[in-house]
């Protein structure tokens, strides 16, 4: 779920760059998955049937199970996150591995397959991989031994160090030699020096921080609790807190997408037992606050296609089998619906 934003931006930058350099002729040819939309299907707990689907909106072609298709073996894990950095696509499985594929053809480049417990996300810095991991459960299903695993090569390998952090680290964001960690359970933003491989600073934030993103040049973290959503930005030069926003959106989840005109789409859920889901739309920079942009039941992931200005909303259909993805125009009208893999939880727009 954390994959989308920085990668969306990356994709956008690439897109602009591609348009502006349209005639240079020296670009390497695009692979078949370098365009279109990657749909992350988390898979079912205990079944390890997570997979990535590819959807080409121009031809309306959906390709199933592209990891298995290109590598002749199943993904065999629960896909927690997709991270596109350093011309590599990192598929983070919370069942304990990271698969690294070439983003153009999805061929396997490498993996981190040992010494991980419940990886959540990944970032690259100083030529290394930093992998956030809940660590093992203890007897009462708490995770007191969460860590950031360090691997000294961009193509995977062995875990050389585990940096202890606060419980349940989620998203990571790297710039320069620093890696920001969203410590969700204890409301901490921990900053790791990628060269020293240690936490150099901790900042307390409000709510449950889960997702970093950049908007209008600033680095923000999104966090939430039962009644509000919060946005906190940071000074990158001196690693301090900058601006803070608090908005009255109740029952928010960790799933958000960056939409048009700096809008932010947030999946909300009343949870058990009523289980009413919805999408709220907010903005950090203006007064936009739409608590019920759409509503329904079973919403599991959200993404925004900046090129076509369409919202992709996924439904896990109770994890009983195939999930569905519904595409909406930004005015909320339904454009298309398709059956995808189990537990569709996020998108990457290429």
């Amino acid at each position: 779920m954390k994959y989308i934003f920085k990668n969306q931006l990356w994709a956008l930058v690439l897109l602009i760059f591609a348009f502006s350099c349209n005639d240079n002729g020296g670009e390497k040819p695009l692979g078949k998955y370098d365009t279109g939309i990657l749909i992350m299907n988390e898979g079912n707990f205990g079944t390890n049937d997570g997979e990535v689907y590819h959807y080409d909106p121009s031809t309306e072609t959906l390709t199933k199970d592209i990891f298995e298709l290109e590598n002749s073996r199943p993904f065999a894990g629960l896909v927690e996150d997709m991270v596109l950095e350093q011309d590599r696509l990192y598929l983070v499985a919370n069942t304990g591995k990271v698969e690294i594929v070439n983003p153009g053809d999805f061929k396997s480049i490498g993996a981190v397959s040992a010494d991980l417990d419940q990886p959540r996300s990944l970032a690259t810095a100083s030529g290394k991989l930093f992998i956030s991991d809940y660590g093992p459960y203890d007897a009462s299903y708490a995770t007191p031994d969460s860590y950031i695993a360090v691997v000294s090569g961009l193509d995977g390998g062995t875990v050389k160090k585990k940096i202890e952090v606060s419980n349940k680290p989620e998203d990571l964001f790297a710039f320069g030699k620093y890696v920001f960690v969203a410590g969700s359970e204890e409301s901490q933003i921990e900053i790791i020096d990628a060269e020293k491989e240690e936490v150099v600073k901790s900042l307390e934030v409000t709510g449950r921080p889960v997702q970093f993103f950049e908007q209008n040049g600033d680095l923000w973290v999104y966090s939430y609790d039962s009644d509000h959503v919060y946005f906190q930005s940071f000074h990158r030069d001196n690693l301090t807190k900058k601006e803070f926003r608090e908005l009255p959106v109740g029952q928010a989840t960790g799933r958000i997408a960056l939409g048009e005109d700096s809008k932010i789409y947030i999946v909300t859920s009343s949870g058990w037992p009523e289980y009413q889901d919805g999408v709220a739309v907010v903005s950090i920079f203006d007064t936009t606050l739409i608590p019920d942009w759409t509503s329904g039941s079973g919403f599991y992931g959200i993404g925004y296609d900046q090129m076509r200005q369409e919202v992709y909303l996924s439904n896990a259909n109770d994890f009983q089998g195939a999930g569905t993805v519904t595409v909406f125009g930004k005015d909320g009208t339904e454009v298309k619906s398709m059956e995808v893999g189990r537990g569709p939880s996020g998108f990457m727009f290429r």
Partner: protein, 629 residues
């Protein structure tokens, strides 16, 4: 007392009982099919059970019956699917005691070792009226038995095999007086007698088999390192003939199993599970001239510790029934059962009481036609189930010398009370759940020929509808059960066996084929799809050749494609697995006999998975030696 380990591994088709007669066993047990006219009942032969004594009930049923067993790996959770229904839709009885866990509503067949059983019977289709709760897809009836009049008997058995398999069992029996029980009249002539049989067993396997790890780049062959299983058990059977009219029977079964839970490929979980069960049953029979009175009491305690978290349930059962035949053509039975369930689970404690009243009638109409009608009423706190009826008929409509053709037809309802976890689990338990219910109808024909080339063939067609099927669904971060699913099942079951001789060779052939359609009407009623993990096609076959005391056996089972989820989810490949065996049944040393058998499982080293990414072992070997003292 020669113990035939492996001769002809075929089903026995239970013959129709036309008249009041007890099974020719030494200790009385009411016949399963006495009021089950029109229903399909399969009884495994003793030789088949012997051949599977080192293995689990799950293995036996997967390889030798139309059931599909969802196996989560070698020695791991094995849950039955009868006619496309779920594991909770199979009632399981041990010596007449319902042994499904009241919290889970099902049994794990991997921890029911065949070693502990003397008899295994399957009843197909909804039979709530006859067997009560959970008999929706069918029911399994397991029993242990002791014999009268056999004096002292003892046997020591040792099996060694691949992947660290090391099973040891000891059985010893003593019975005081010669007696043969062929019918009520014979029994009335009996004096006092006593019989006891003790079985002790330990079954162990490292399960460190090699498999291709699909989750790793290059799919290297690796060794399974977290699937070790150990089971220890004690079965004690006792029976007393107190007088010429009274028999008392007691059975006790203690078992403890410790397992490392084999994770699916791609996971590295290190879960451990320990299951300990105590089951005890006491039966009193009073035999009249045309009647049998039974008083039954039972106790079951199940303890499961999963990664240190304890779940415990206890059940107390009291039942009585009275079976009488006022005339040659009529049989009646009426009974009542009370069950008290106490659950102390890791997240809740709950008590449940159930009362059941049932009656059965059978009428022999002449011309080979028998008809039965069964009724049951169940009550649990604040709930009265609808009256559950079933009706069935057997018609032996053609018989001439060697041939006999039998028609069967039945219609019955089944139901399932929501389990304790369904109702009370914290969080998510849903106390407002309705019971699941089913309606099942079937017709069948069987054709038996007795000659030098003899055969038995049976073909059954069934239709079933299951409503209010309970599924646990995620509600935000909490999973909660709901009466959501509606399923229509239909299918065909064929079973055939034949026996013949060529010279000194005795041949036996057996084959079964099942077509099972289970359509989920819940999500897309206009375009219903087959339920997950429910193969449409299954088959099994067996061929054995015996010459004097040497027997050679080749068997195979086939499981067709099945999806791993609803909608357009992934489809798993069909697979076929072959087994072979060799038995020397009459090795002697003085008065001691020691049958020796050798088996090769997965003969062709087939790489397959029953459930997605759950590795299964390749070719393995087992050698068994039994010494009869």
């Amino acid at each position: 007392m020669t113990l035939l380990l492996w001769v002809v591994t075929v089903f026995g088709f239970v013959p129709v009982q036309d008249t009041v007669s007890l099974q020719p066993v030494e200790v009385y047990a009411p016949a399963l099919d006495r009021y089950a006219q029109g229903q399909k009942v399969v009884d495994f032969e003793v030789e088949t059970l012997r051949a599977y004594s080192a293995r689990s009930l799950g293995d036996l049923l997967q390889e030798k019956s139309p059931l599909f067993i969802r196996q989560y790996g070698a020695g791991m959770l094995a849950s039955p699917s009868f006619r496309g229904t779920s594991a909770g839709h199979t009632a399981v009885f041990w010596n007449g005691l319902p042994i499904n866990s009241p919290s889970l509503g099902q049994s794990d067949l991997s921890i029911l070792p065949v070693e502990a059983m003397d008899r295994v019977q399957l009843q197909f289709g909804s039979a709530g009226a006859l067997f009560g709760n959970e008999a929706i897809g069918g029911s399994l009836h397991l029993s242990s038995e002791s014999d009268f009049g056999k004096g002292f008997q003892a046997a020591l058995s040792q099996t060694v095999g691949s992947f660290g398999l090391f099973n040891t069992s000891f059985s010893g029996g003593f019975s005081s007086k010669e007696s043969t029980l062929q019918g009520i009249e014979t029994l009335r002539g009996l004096g006092k007698s006593f019989s006891a049989k003790t079985r002790l067993y330990r079954q162990f396997a490292n399960n460190d088999f090699r498999y291709q790890d699909l989750a790793q780049a290059g799919t290297p062959e690796v060794r399974e390192d977290h699937a070790q299983v150990e089971q220890i058990g004690l079965v004690q059977d006792m029976a007393w003939n107190l007088s010429t009219q009274d028999q008392l029977k007691a059975a006790f079964w203690w078992q403890k199993s410790d397992r490392e839970i084999q994770p699916p490929m791609g996971s590295h979980t290190q879960d451990r599970q320990s299951d300990e069960s105590i089951r005890a049953v006491l039966d009193y029979y009073r035999f009249g001239r045309h009647s049998t009175l039974n008083l039954k009491s039972g106790f079951i305690q199940d303890q499961q510790i999963f990664n240190g978290s304890l779940n415990q349930t206890r059940q107390f059962l009291l039942a009585t029934d009275y079976d009488f035949s006022p005339g040659e053509d009529w049989n009646f039975k009426a009974g009542a059962r009370a069950t008290l369930v106490r659950g102390d689970l890791s997240t809740y404690s709950a008590t449940d009481r159930r009362y059941e009243f049932y009656q059965s009638a059978r009428w022999y109409a002449g011309e080979g036609l028998s008809v039965s009608l069964n009724l049951r009423q169940l009550a649990y706190p604040e709930n009265f189930e609808p009256f559950l009826p079933s009706i069935g008929a057997d018609w032996k409509f053609w018989e001439n010398g060697k041939h006999q053709v039998l028609l069967k037809a039945s219609l019955g309802k089944g139901f399932k009370v929501p389990t304790l976890n369904d109702r009370f689990w914290e969080p998510g338990g849903n106390p407002d759940l309705l019971h699941e219910e089913s309606l099942n109808g079937e017709i069948g024909v069987s054709w038996e020929k007795k000659a030098s080339f003899s055969w038995e063939q049976s073909l059954t067609y069934y239709r079933m509808q299951v409503d209010n099927w309970i599924i646990w669904l995620p509600m935000g971060s909490v999973w909660t059960p709901q009466n959501i699913r509606e399923v229509k099942n239909q299918g065909i079951e064929y079973q055939g066996k034949a026996e013949w001789k060529t010279g000194r060779l005795e041949w036996a052939w057996m084959m079964g084929y099942t077509f099972s359609q289970a359509l989920d009407l819940t999500t897309e009623p206009e375009n219903p799809k087959q339920l997950p993990y429910t193969p449409e096609h299954q088959a099994n076959g067996n061929l054995s050749a015996t010459r004097d005391w040497i027997s050679l056996n080749l068997s195979s089972f086939f499981v067709g494609q099945r999806s791993i989820g609803t909608g357009g989810a992934r489809i798993m490949d069909a697979y076929q697995v072959w087994n072979a065996g060799l038995l020397f049944s009459k090795l002697h040393w003085g008065k001691t006999s020691f049958p020796l058998s050798f088996q090769v499982l997965n003969l062709l080293d087939k790489n397959y998975q029953v459930l997605y990414l759950r590795a299964m072992p390749g070719r393995s070997y087992q050698l068994n030696l039994t010494i009869h003292l």
